[in-house]
């Protein structure tokens, strides 16, 4: 009799413990909506951080990973990574790398950072077959027409200046990858936010969807605002 009661009691305790654990797990499974931001060194930066914290990321854009927002904020504060030894010269700022979005105009190569060195050639290929070859461009902005770029394709490019040569690749997004992104951008459009906070949210949406080139373009636009 006693052992039976004892076993029953044990079973009740175990069921209770399991329920508690389940509840705790369910709670921990909830998205953490607290933003943890690195402190900015300038007054404008601190103000922007405060504005960003005011909005609840979980309700502003449902489904957006809060980590992306903090990560974008950290990237904003670090204009460029310093130190370390690279295998190759990194691609100049403004040149597309990784997964890219095509605008209505197409894709822009912004060569302003190296144009002074004397750009002699930009060659873009798919599987070693050249598809664009631009020699001695007249200006620093080169637009590849959207109509001539296929979706979900990897384009390798080589940029040659008189001082250096750079190489990298970009991949055009698949149509399926854009649906969720567009939905989040549409939701963001309805939110009431300051222009800078809106830009940070847009950058976070791009970060979450791995469109880092688009994200970095936004951050480059925001950086002068928080500069000392």
């Amino acid at each position: 009799m006693y052992p039976f009661i004892y076993v029953n009691r044990m079973a009740i305790v175990m069921v209770f413990a399991a329920l508690c654990c389940g509840l705790a797990q369910a709670q921990s499974g909830k998205q953490d909506c607290t933003l943890r931001l690195k402190s900015a060194s300038t007054a404008t930066g601190q103000q922007l951080a405060q504005d960003l914290i005011k909005a609840n990321p979980c309700t502003t854009v449902p489904g957006l990973d809060v980590k992306s927002l903090s990560s974008v904020w950290s990237a904003l504060l670090t204009s460029s990574s310093t130190g370390g030894k690279r295998f190759d010269t990194p691609p100049p700022a403004g040149t597309p790398t990784g997964k890219v979005l095509l605008g209505a105009q197409g894709l822009v190569f912004d060569l302003q950072s190296v144009f002074g060195d004397g750009v002699t050639q930009l060659q873009i290929s798919v599987d070693d077959v050249p598809v664009f070859n631009i020699v001695n461009p007249k200006g620093p902005l080169l637009t590849l027409p959207a109509a001539r770029l296929k979706p979900e394709t990897v384009y390798d490019w080589v940029l040659i200046t008189r001082k250096n040569s750079y190489k990298a690749s970009f991949r055009t997004a698949a149509p399926g990858e854009l649906a969720d992104l567009q939905h989040q951008l549409d939701v963001l459009a309805t939110a009431t936010l300051s222009p800078s906070v809106r830009l940070l949210y847009t950058a976070a949406i791009y970060d979450d969807a791995e469109f880092y080139f688009a994200r970095d373009q936004i951050l480059a636009q925001l950086r002068p605002q928080i500069a000392p």
């Binding site: 990560s71 670090t78 370390g84 690279r86 040569s165 791995e210």
Partner: protein, 418 residues
């Protein structure tokens, strides 16, 4: 910044004491040369038995690498026969402990081993003491021989401080603990994908496997625990290394479904980055800036001492030469890292034919040879010189022609060694 580097001078002081003791303990120049001649055991000098014991102990340590470092619970050491059997053929563990410095330079901005004969540089001043002794002996002999050549048989040997200056330029003396801390602080500024990010899980798996493949072929035990971090930025198909053994890689390097040639390229890129760490390139750069900065100030003082020679041109010329030296140094480091990566590949692919085929594919991935302009002011005009000094470029990669030529030369050497 000052705070960061302050403790780094401690090993130098240790080295200074060692060198002082070396000087005090040896009676003549020629005997010193004998004592440190190549790999033979240093003789115990009659005038300094304690010192002799110290160096003999050190020598024994280098002769049995691993034995002195082994922990009590180690199952085996590098000196154990079983371990020796597992070492790659032709691998000489001595070579990775004791570096015979064949050349030295007035500045630290020089890569002393361009072909990467030594895959792993000695670490820490304790490992460097024997090398330091050899350097001291050689410099003394050199100064003695120079004296003879100049008809002065009683030439003074080099002073401790001079030897120390050479040593500071030729060896690694920044402590590794500091190196690791610098690497970690740099990592905080990097845009990386965390290991727990589901988007990066597969990339980390493939990258870790590649890292493991490279590291297992290196002489053990390695002083660094390499860790891989995958950068968000993708598309540059490249990687970078931070001091202390942190490798940051572009995720495209390990993309699923990559062709064999691309995987070889990824191997080469990762091996190149590991080499930067093992050659302590970033650390050497810090040393270069610290030690050469002293020389720069001295040099500038010399220029300004002689008032008749002060001209804006002389000052600009001096600054330009220093900057050019540094930029060239970074290029040489890149070429050396390529050489080391090539040596690692040679271990991985013992057949010369196979190695040549792999390298051909890697060279293709590196891009067509493109000759770019060499660095320096465009003319002797003041404006061009000032522009060159102020353009902020302190680091540069060798152009593809230089890289291709370097790999070709190494491949020829590899064939000659077969």
């Amino acid at each position: 910044m000052t705070m960061l580097f302050k403790p780094a001078w401690k090993p130098l002081l240790v080295a200074a004491v060692c060198l002082f003791l070396t000087n005090a303990g040896h009676a003549g120049h020629s005997s010193v040369a004998q004592e440190f001649d190549g790999a033979s055991a240093p003789a115990v000098p009659s005038s300094g038995p304690d010192l002799g014991t110290t160096f003999k102990g050190l020598f024994d340590r280098f002769r049995s690498p691993g034995a002195a470092d082994a922990k009590p619970d180690d199952k085996g050491t590098a000196a154990a026969p079983a371990d020796k059997a597992s070492a790659p053929a032709g691998f000489n563990p001595m070579a990775f402990r004791l570096v015979d410095i064949e050349s030295w330079s007035q500045t630290s901005n020089v890569v002393l081993d361009p072909e990467c004969k030594t895959l792993v540089q000695p670490f820490g001043i304790t490992d460097n003491v024997a090398s330091l002794g050899m350097l001291a002996a050689k410099l003394k002999v050199k100064s003695f021989v120079d004296g003879l050549n100049n008809g002065n048989a009683h030439a003074k040997p080099m002073q401790v401080i001079e030897i120390l200056r050479y040593a500071a330029k030729s060896m690694n003396w920044l402590p590794m603990s500091l190196e690791v801390r610098i690497g970690e602080s740099m990592l905080a500024n990097e845009d990386i994908l965390e290991r727990d990010d589901p988007k990066a899980f597969e990339d980390y798996k493939r990258g870790d496997k590649l890292l493991e493949d490279i590291v297992k072929d290196l002489p053990q035990p390695l002083p660094y625990e390499f860790q891989l971090k995958i950068r968000k930025d993708a598309g540059s198909n490249t990687a970078k290394s931070l001091p202390g053994g942190i490798i940051l890689a572009d995720r495209y390097l390990f993309q699923k479904g990559k062709k064999e040639s691309n995987l070889d390229y990824a191997y080469f890129v990762m091996a190149h980055e590991i080499s930067h760490v093992l050659q302590r390139h970033q650390t050497r750069e810090y040393q270069a800036r610290l030690v050469d900065a002293v020389d720069s100030i001295e040099g500038l003082m010399k220029l300004t001492d002689n008032k008749t020679q002060i001209t804006p041109g002389a000052l600009l010329g001096y600054s330009t030469a220093l900057k050019k030296l540094f930029v060239n140094f970074t290029e040489q480091q890149e070429l050396q890292a390529d050489s080391c990566a090539m040596q690692m590949m040679a271990k991985h692919y013992p057949s010369h034919k196979q190695l040549a085929a792999k390298l051909a594919m890697i060279e293709k991935s590196m891009g067509k040879p493109e000759q770019t302009e060499t660095d320096g002011p465009k003319s002797a005009q003041l404006l061009d010189t000032l522009k060159y000094l102020g353009d902020g470029v302190m680091e540069r990669h060798p152009n593809t022609v230089q890289r291709h030529n370097n790999l070709k030369m190494l491949l020829t050497l590899n064939l000659a060694q077969k």
